[in-house]
Symmetry: C2
Subunit: 335 residues, 2 copies
DNA sequence: CCGAGATGAGTAATCGATTTCACGCAAGTT
DNA sequence: AACTTGCGTGAAATCGATTACTCATCTCGG
């Protein structure tokens, strides 16, 4: 049983060779108008569609991007995926989605899949600044774009938020709101995001002439339970903070839960600013002040960079840094 | 410049034929131990990895699933994607993610891509019960699973939530909480989800001997602005409702915003129950009572069904219906 | 000791499109 | 008229793996 009509069926029907059919379909070489017409008719009559796999084999390239992200369950990445998806669609590529779960091995395994399937390019949020290994891709000339987090080992196109600036804005705002003992909960320092946000926090304090108290800095795991643990630790201090900067969205949720459990009321007892917008921000009480990143735009830009590479751009690696904006809501304003 | 090592390079190095290398790698036919060993050594020495594209062409099948969903930006689908992703990974497939944006044409175009790329199977949330056309897939024997929404035209494996039951639970709960004038905001009736949820709402009222007032039923667009419009319309009625059942998550958010804007306080003035859990439910005020669907499980089950078909199951189409659970929180409890 | 059957491995066909190469024919040059 | 030049077209090679087929060798029963 023959299910698929091939280019030869079309050729036979049009009374030409397969080569001519291919030429008509790809429009590069010139073909006599009447032949082209016959080919097009035959294509229409047979409802012919080229076999993408065969084409990929011959062309030694696919029209697919691999997108390897840490966790599709984290809403932060959702908008990012959306941005990449749109850019891919515009440039005529499809997207293969892969979840690394922040696990280096899974990341590596997906990188191998990308190589095996000869994907056109890869966009990833590196699970580790130092250890993520892109060699298999780069040595085969597959372009890579890092997004959200930087990479140490490889010099590739990168799209990140201005984390230092975001943290600076957040902390300055807390100071302006009257806080003097400001704590910070940040993530594992092996990620550039955690490092940079901590740096911005320190910078703000220094600029305003406030001593950095290292006891007020909590390094946690970037997840909900990390935020909970961090906030709990801070509340156990002899001298509690009066302001809190939390360096990512999930940790902010955890921290707020800890505050509720301990009966600490925001913003009465403590002002708080989070990082990355959370969905339904309008519905939370207190409404959260956050440092919003243009997440969708980050994805879109990453996609555009990749499309540029695939379009032949061989210039030096480029880093795009997007500015975050501070969304002041209730949680950081004294009532 | 030769970038890729092929099966012939391995064969040469091991002193055997390409066929033997293939046999060793695929493990089906038996090969003499010493040859197998030499092949494996050569593979290791050359760091050989088979070209997936060539393999796909020859096998006339890929190890890829297409997942066509309405909107990756809607958090409802995020957990679903996650479930599918896990099932795919377990069964040894990768996932190509496609956003249809609820647009039929985009959906059709992605279906064609799935055919062209000879994807192994497709999972989709049909953009329309009546109009989504799976013919191109089915006539080529590509198995399809519908998830979240049913399909009219084709008899395929399906995974849905028990929408009638969910709506019934929600409405009964409102009645039990003392409401007598209960309104409903639901989505476009061309989707099965909207229909069924409306049905469950009516069923609950009838069972409890309450007349259904069609003026209290708002048909909106399943998005935030739809919820806002619906709630506004209800508040403009001469006789306002004292209970509200909203048939999806985004609309619930919109409705709540309308209530805030109109100064209607929940749960003092109005009790409300939403459909589908929303992230950060713990942080919203009032905490929302919702009908939670096991979204992750829906995705996982859909993936398992697809894997089953690919494993050779040729039985009749199966529909899996998952029960939702009512999460009672503050918004539906009189204070 | 011979022939049937099993086994293992190589040769070559195959998947379906793209692309190189060569050929035939028409137009342009001297 | 002979000779290049160029264009359009088809035949065949190619991409890299899988697999049907073939053949040589080995085993075992009669």
């Amino acid at each position: 049983m023959r299910l698929l009509t091939t280019i030869y069926d079309v050729a036979t029907r049009a009374g030409v060779s397969a080569a001519t059919v291919s030429r008509v379909l790809n429009g590069s070489d010139s073909v006599a108008p009447d032949l082209a017409r016959r080919v097009r008719d035959a294509v229409a009559e047979l409802d012919y569609r080229p076999n993408g796999v065969a084409r990929n084999l011959r062309r030694r390239a696919t029209r697919v991007w691999g997108l390897i992200i840490s966790d599709i369950g984290n809403p932060f990445f959702t908008a990012l995926v959306r941005g990449v998806e749109d850019a891919a669609h515009e440039a005529g590529y499809s997207l293969v989605l892969c979840n690394s779960d922040e696990i280096l091995e899974k990341e590596q395994s997906y990188i191998q899949v990308a190589v095996d399937e000869q994907m056109a390019g890869v966009i990833l949020t590196p699970s580790s600044e130092a250890d993520s290994d892109l060699t298999p891709l780069l040595e085969r000339g597959i372009p890579v774009v890092a997004v959200d987090r930087r990479l140490d080992r490889h010099d590739v196109d990168t799209v990140v938020g201005d984390n230092v600036r975001g943290a600076l804005l957040a902390t300055q705002h807390l100071i302006a709101s009257g806080c003097r003992r400001i704590a910070c909960i940040t993530g594992p320092t092996k990620t550039t995001t955690a490092q940079e946000r901590l740096h911005g926090y320190r910078q703000a304090l220094t600029r305003e002439g406030i001593d950095v108290d290292e006891g007020l800095v909590m390094i946690e795991n970037f997840k909900e339970d990390g935020g909970y643990a961090g906030a709990t630790g801070l509340l156990d201090l002899d001298e509690r903070p009066d302001g809190l900067f939390v360096a990512n969205n999930l940790m902010t949720v955890g921290a707020l839960e800890a505050l509720v459990d301990r009966g600490v009321e925001v913003p009465r007892d403590l002002l708080i600013v989070g990082f990355d917008d959370i969905p339904w921000a309008k519905l939370t009480r207190p409404r959260l002040t956050t440092v919003d990143q243009p997440t969708y735009q980050m994805g879109k830009d990453a996609g555009t960079l990749l499309a540029g590479r695939l379009g032949g751009n061989t210039g030096p690696a480029r880093t795009i840094m997007l500015s975050p904006t501070l969304q002041v809501r209730e949680s950081s304003v004294r009532s």
